[in-house]
């Protein structure tokens, strides 16, 4: 840089968290760190001391942080506070996480933001339940850099033997969960021994102070050398403001992208080329890297949407509906098999159920129980999850950012997890074939997105199912007519017609299992052609059993399917049905309901269009 008097705002910043069992002195340590590094505002300590005097209680450094009135009354930290302090080396955001089990979700919230952690243990009480649980959660949350501070050494007469015993015990526990602490520091947070300054109290100790150990944490290297992963956050078109760009927005979580790169969006498998990198008030860029929130435009107009994961063609993410994961549960209600939850991973959101509880681990003892069938609050478990639709992800050991998720129960995030492995579902082989088909497909100059833009509706499949005699064929024909009357390209593709035409020689043996499989493949491929030409295909065939719905959905991907099941009792409907109808009485009313569903899912435009 030149010698011009410009301030370069390039100080390093690091988020660290202080965790440990309740009352082991976390807030006191943070208060002390702030006070000893002159990070408190003028008068703040005096103000808190004055309040203590007025209330007739002894001043504690913890009060500098436990800002909420309830916290000061009860003498505990309820929620993680963020404090700011700086050393010569860099700026810190220090997160003081609560140690009370009741506030574990606040501890998780605090720790998930951190790059490194200080685990605190009371020398007098030794290793406690939450010392272990917090250590375990740190490793699940991906916080790899850890130091351990053994606090309240003044209460054990600064005894080295006590310190050594705690170090041996806790080191052995941490090694079981794959955590290697960088050092153990004996301290008295209250008196400031070995927090910021070495004192004469423990001459037997020659290691770093807490502050020195914290400064020795290393900043995580940039993730730009990993595979490209950019979850699509949204696609923007601000046409009303006179802006014609169609911008795919998201954050590059790992890797790098450059103008001209060939990219693929998973799970839809659509490919395109990056035409430009868009931004506001910055010079034109030809590349973007991990950590940047960016926008790109694509050379070929394809239908991309939130939840798609962008990568390079030669380094694809995994796709499945089944994953093996380690989770921790924070919800008041237990996580139970059979119940529907929402899984959020990157920008994807999908319905999910537990397929199997493999084992439940007591995170404070590391005892695992393979007989439990549900996951209770504060449990850590290994489970197999099944999502309603295929999702794109990575194993957490390969790409951390796209290998972790949260589970939403009702309105609240109730748990978090990391993906250990892909479980092959029934569609795995087919999905991989379809992916290859999509990449190799010979494309014309007119894309499906072009066709959809002209026709004003999306292409896709409406799949009817239900026993013979429920009237689904009639309903399907009326739906086709309704769509046609509204100017929407639609085609009734009965399985019989595919049989008669494409599979004529196999009609006689249609019942044989291997032939059946082939028929379903043929049906799916024919439907795929119609859809690729922009039509909404309506299917009523009885040839396709309920089990084959996923096969069809896989074959027509990236197009979408809406399933309608007709049966007298709702509980007989297959799990993934979008709409369940009782035996048909009023055909037009049922067509109305299907039309409403198609509008809701974005297949067809709403009748009362808004003015944008």
């Amino acid at each position: 840089m030149s010698a011009a008097p410009v301030i370069t705002y390039d100080r390093e910043q690091m988020n660290i968290v202080i965790v440990g069992h309740v009352d082991h002195g976390k807030s006191t340590l943070v208060g002390r760190l702030l006070a000893d590094t002159d990070s408190l505002f003028e008068g703040h300590e005096a103000k808190i001391r004055a309040i203590c005097e007025r209330q007739g209680k002894e001043f504690e450094y913890a009060f500098l942080l436990d800002a909420l009135s309830e916290e000061q009354e009860q003498g505990i930290t309820i929620d993680a506070a963020r404090c700011f302090f700086k050393t010569e080396k860099r700026d810190y955001i220090i997160i003081d996480a609560p140690g009370h089990i009741e506030f574990l979700k606040n501890m998780v919230t605090g720790a998930a933001r951190a790059e490194a952690a200080v685990l605190l243990i009371d020398a007098h009480e030794g290793v406690q339940e939450n010392s272990r649980r917090h250590g375990f959660l740190l490793s699940m949350l991906g916080v790899d850099q850890v130091i351990v501070a053994v606090n309240k050494m003044d209460l054990v007469d600064y005894d080295q033997t006590t310190f050594d015993r705690i170090e041996t015990e806790y080191r052995s526990f941490l090694s079981e969960i794959g955590v290697t602490p960088q050092c153990f520091v004996p301290i008295s947070a209250r008196d400031g021994d070995f927090v910021a300054d070495p004192t004469k109290t423990m001459a037997w100790y020659s290691g770093p102070t807490v502050l020195q150990a914290v400064d020795a944490f290393e900043k995580e290297p940039p993730k730009e050398n990993q595979m490209l992963r950019m979850p699509v956050q949204d696609v923007y078109r601000f046409n009303a403001q006179g802006d014609q760009r169609r911008i795919v927005a998201g954050r590059v979580e790992t890797g790098s992208l450059r103008v001209g790169d060939r990219v693929v969006f998973t799970p839809s498998n659509k490919t395109s080329t990056i035409e430009s990198i868009e931004s506001f008030n910055t010079p034109v860029a030809s590349a973007a890297h991990a950590g940047q929130s960016v926008g790109i435009t694509l050379a070929e107009q394809i239908y991309v949407r939130r939840g798609d994961l962008m990568s390079h063609v030669d380094a694809l993410p995994q796709v499945s509906t089944m994953i093996r994961a380690n989770i921790f549960w924070l919800g008041r209600e237990s996580m139970t098999p059979g119940k529907r939850y929402k899984l959020k991973l990157g920008t994807t959101s999908v319905n999910v159920v537990i397929e199997e509880v493999v084992s439940v681990l007591d995170a404070s003892e590391l005892d695992s129980d393979t007989n439990k069938s549900q996951v209770n609050r504060h449990d850590v478990a290994e489970i197999i999850l099944r999502t309603r639709n295929p999702i794109a992800f990575d194993r957490t050991q390969e790409v951390e950012h796209t290998g972790r998720f949260v589970i939403v129960d009702g309105y609240d995030i109730a748990g978090g997890g990391i993906i250990r492995d892909v479980v092959e579902d029934a569609e795995a082989a087919l999905r991989s074939e379809t992916r290859q088909r999509e990449f190799r497909w010979v494309k014309g100059l007119v894309t499906l997105a072009d066709r959809e833009a002209r026709s004003g509706h999306q292409a896709g499949l409406v799949l009817f199912s239900g026993d013979a005699g429920t009237g689904k064929a009639l309903l399907a024909k009326h739906l086709e007519r309704r769509l046609f009357n509204q100017g929407i390209g639609s085609y009734l593709l009965d399985g019989t017609n595919v049989l008669l035409g494409v599979d004529h020689e196999e009609l006689a043996v249609a019942e044989r299992e291997e032939t059946r499989e082939k028929l379903i493949r043929h049906y799916g491929e024919v439907a795929h052609l119609f859809i690729d030409s922009g039509q909404i295909v309506i299917s009523t065939t009885n040839t396709i059993g309920l089990a084959e719905h996923q096969t069809i959905a896989t074959l027509i991907a990236p197009a979408e399917m809406v399933s309608v099941h007709i049966c007298p009792h709702h509980d007989q409907a297959p799990l993934n049905t979008d709409l369940v109808l009782a035996v048909i009485e009023d055909v037009e009313a049922d067509v109305d309901r299907i039309m409403a569903l198609l509008q809701e899912r974005g297949f067809v435009p709403a009748l009362q269009s808004t003015d944008d």
Partner: protein, 296 residues
Amino acid sequence: MSENTERPASPTQLDELESQSIYILREAYHHFKNLCMLWSIGKDSTVMLWLARKAFFGHVPFPLVHIDTSFKIPAMIEYRDQLARDWNLNMVVGQNTQALADGMNHTKGRLTCCAALKTEALKHTLSGEWARKRMNDQGVYVPDWNQEPYTGVIVGARADEEGSRSKERYFSPRDENNDWDIADQPPELWNQFKTDFAPGTHVRVHPLLDWTEVNIWEYIDRENIPIIDLYFDKGEGTRYRSLGCGPCTGCVQSKATTPAEIVRELMTITTAERAGRAQDQEDPHAMEKLRRDGYM
């Protein structure tokens, strides 16, 4: 910053803060149908407005809501309307007209005044119960046709401002009564936020939570954001450090005339940012109480 560098140096603190704020703004825009951003005209929410233009490539696709206590420093209103025109903003203003008609002002008690003219006005403006005014194409304020409650409200609170703000989430729910249940906040991890919420409740979104006062000024300097000039000394050796209502906001001694000078000054300063805000000094938990009731 130099142009056309193929590989910039590893991201700076400001780059990281900017990227995270943009991510949060885009999440908010995706999840909330009735979304607005509170713009107090001060430096923080003006930086936030700038970040929105970054997030949405020059556009601001939601309304900006300003609560006008009528005691704001007049230059603030001029600046607000000028920027609204220049940047093509969807500007909405709310006010507690009844309390003002009844003669409310800070002499009735600072906290009482804040509660009426800010907290109450804000609550009823957000819920749509009280009439809102919207700036039209000619730059004139007319009654707003939209009376829908806002379900997502973007706020420029920073964790380093004072104790209760340091405990906020990026996405922080408020119940039907606008209450903030501090003891039972939702978990928030790996950039997954609370975006599902019961009818009648709303969510406050805090894109600036990790920014410090120094970061704000560094960014204003780096981006050349046209910040209101009340923050700068105009030759009298004083400037505002925090902006509020005229009667309750004091100046600080300072000769800083540019953002860079303010950054240098803040590097050595030891008094709290809100020291010039009289209402904070009324009660040790004044801010927490105000904020539990809906103050920003």
